[in-house]
Amino acid sequence: MADFWKRFSRNRGAVIGAAILLIVVIVALLAPILFPQSPWRMVQRPFLPPLTMDQYPLGTDAVGRDVLTGLAHGAQVSLLVGLISTVAALLIGIPIGALAGYFGGWLDDALMRFTEFFQTVPNFALAIVLVAIFEPSIFSIVAAIAIVSWPPVARLVRGEVLSLRSREYVEAAILAGQKNGTIIVRQVLPNTLSPIIVLASLMVATAILLESSLSFLGLGDPNLMSWGYMIGAARTVIRQAWWLSFFPGVAILLTVLALNLIGEGLNDALNPRLARKGR
């Protein structure tokens, strides 16, 4: 573990990314304490520019809501949607990939054609359709994001499992009389963990972007303030009030950048071949 941190921290970008993400997470967790008021409440005159009143350093939006409060509460929604939908996507993708890769044959063919069916439909279009059918709510958004983002997971896991299943320790487990389920869970999957973790960190970033895009189009959960919603609501007034789309935009940019940097750092730290090269 100490070794892992040493290798992770050698990548300076990854450390910066982790620091940014930590700040975002803290803000999201402390939002109800720091900004106890509802982000939907009107607090001042509309279109108050940033840095004009100490109380509202980022100004107010078209109906006089505090932008800073909105950002903090939006962080909660964005991170939550990112994390939960990624976990859900992993829960769909890993079993499908593992079964396809381990058993091969017709099961592999069937599962991979099924996966391709999802891959051939453009992600975002499918997500819009799903959310529109199920009515926008936090659940339907998470479900839609998970449904469009599991195929790469299944593909990755299948590839890894394919190469691992012919390893000698897997053969030894077969000879030792272990059942297929045990072999997959005990011998194969733990060794696919590194690439999955890396992919997952990047998927959280994509999920945040997807949620923002959906909210931008007005398909977000109407009861929850999110970064995408803020940008979407501000798009009509972008020439009069630049700050309304600028600050949530920066928040999305930084969070996604942080997650990508972390993903890269994890890749370096978890990939022993690269690590050996640098040693």
Binding site: Y169, Q178, L193
Partner: protein
Amino acid sequence: MGEPVLSVENLRIALPEGADRPFAVDDVSFELRAGEILCIVGESGSGKSMSANAAMGLLPDLVRPVGGKILFDGSDLLRLSEAQLMDLRGRRIAMIFQEPMSALNPLLRAGEQIAEVFEAHDLLTPKERSARAMELLEEVGIPDPEKAARAYPFQLSGGQRQRVMIAMALALEPEILIADEPTTALDVTTQAQILDLIRNLQEKHSMAVMFITHDFGVVAEIADRVAVMQYGKIVETGSVDEVLDNPQHDYTRKLIAAIPTLATDRARGDVGKQPVLEVDGLCKTYVTGGSLFGRNRRVVKAVQNVSFTLAEGETLGIVGESGSGKSSVGRCLVRLLTPDAGMVRLGGHDMATLSGEALREARKSIQMIFQDPYASLNPRSRVGRIIAEGPMAHGVPKAEAYSNAERLLDLVGLDTSAIDRYPHEFSGGQRQRIGIARALALEPRVIIADEAVSALDVSIQAQVLDLLADLKEKLDLALLFITHDLRVAAQICDRIAVMKEGEVVEIGPPRQIFTNPQNVYTRSLIEAIPGRERELAAAE
């Protein structure tokens, strides 16, 4: 012997912090004289390749020379600029590597690769280059050089690839040829041919050859002088006769003693016991690349009509070169592969036709030890779990399985504290012991060892072979020992089966196989064993 052409003086190469020792090469001095073959021998990690790479300026980034000199033609190679080194490389000092497949560019035809050497040094016209390439291919004895020049590396055999490498190295008539384990990846008959070739070319061009190897058999075949390395230091140098026949240093003696000898007196009388494993008419054919319309189908008959029996307490060796089907036989027996035809009778069952639960049960009595000690243990499981997993899958309670694992670790000569550690904390030999403990955990009657010692250094190999022989006695196991190494087979086996192209061509006790082989192929295999002539001469 001639003048020294390359002299290494007090060379010291530092390893990065955190390595197992501070210096890869520590205060090493030796001379390479014109017209001689100097063998540098050592086990893995002894620093033998590092010394050669330093001369070529090919050290890895974090490993750097910190002291000493490598003098060549009046200049110190360690102080030359990259441009000066580039001019020397290939033109005056050439190198050949262990794995010709990865040393050749897979996308260039053999002829083009050789011509590229001239191009790199800006010599000759394109037309002359390809003509020269053809001459060189002819010189290194490739059959049908014109065809070989047009072939891509994957279309050539291992031996032919190594010949192309040698042709590239010879292209500019270098004064020094550095050969880093050039025959290790080759079959024994091919190895003999390549050694001959290097020997002949060395004499013809009067080059100095620095030959790096771990194999004393190869040393006996080719060396004029020998330097033995251990832990980055040269422990002994001398002429080949001095070192092999009268080694001075303890380590050299230990290494030479660890080499399995061919002179075998194993002729056990008690082998006629009950057969525990009977194999009858085993066949396995691989079909690859078959398209929908059946074109380009490649059919490989890996195992053809193989029959043998294995008695209780017997060790049967299956030897053969790569592609002879020896591993396929082993995998068919444990049903990692399903044979197309034939019977494998073990304890009243036919292993070849069982499936599901019955197969799972039957496999308890036939277990396998694998070749690669690094790939055969799950890197994310603790050693205790690795050994206990098998019995637990068969319903043994966890506590009992773990205490049994402790007993097994003790039995294979490891400390019982190993149980809580991960495989990467162990050396290759220790890992192989863990693999043996795992195979024993199910109390099998037959163990199949598939190249179980091939990846190990010779001294470790000797220890593991001793352990296997010892365990076999104690537990009354039958052992099927699959190997490409005839020396190892001679040492451990009661009977040897020689395989070629999927068929068993000869089977018999080692004495008969080695002194009076009946089959032509067996004879060519035996004759190709490196160091055999010297050993026979010494025995008389």
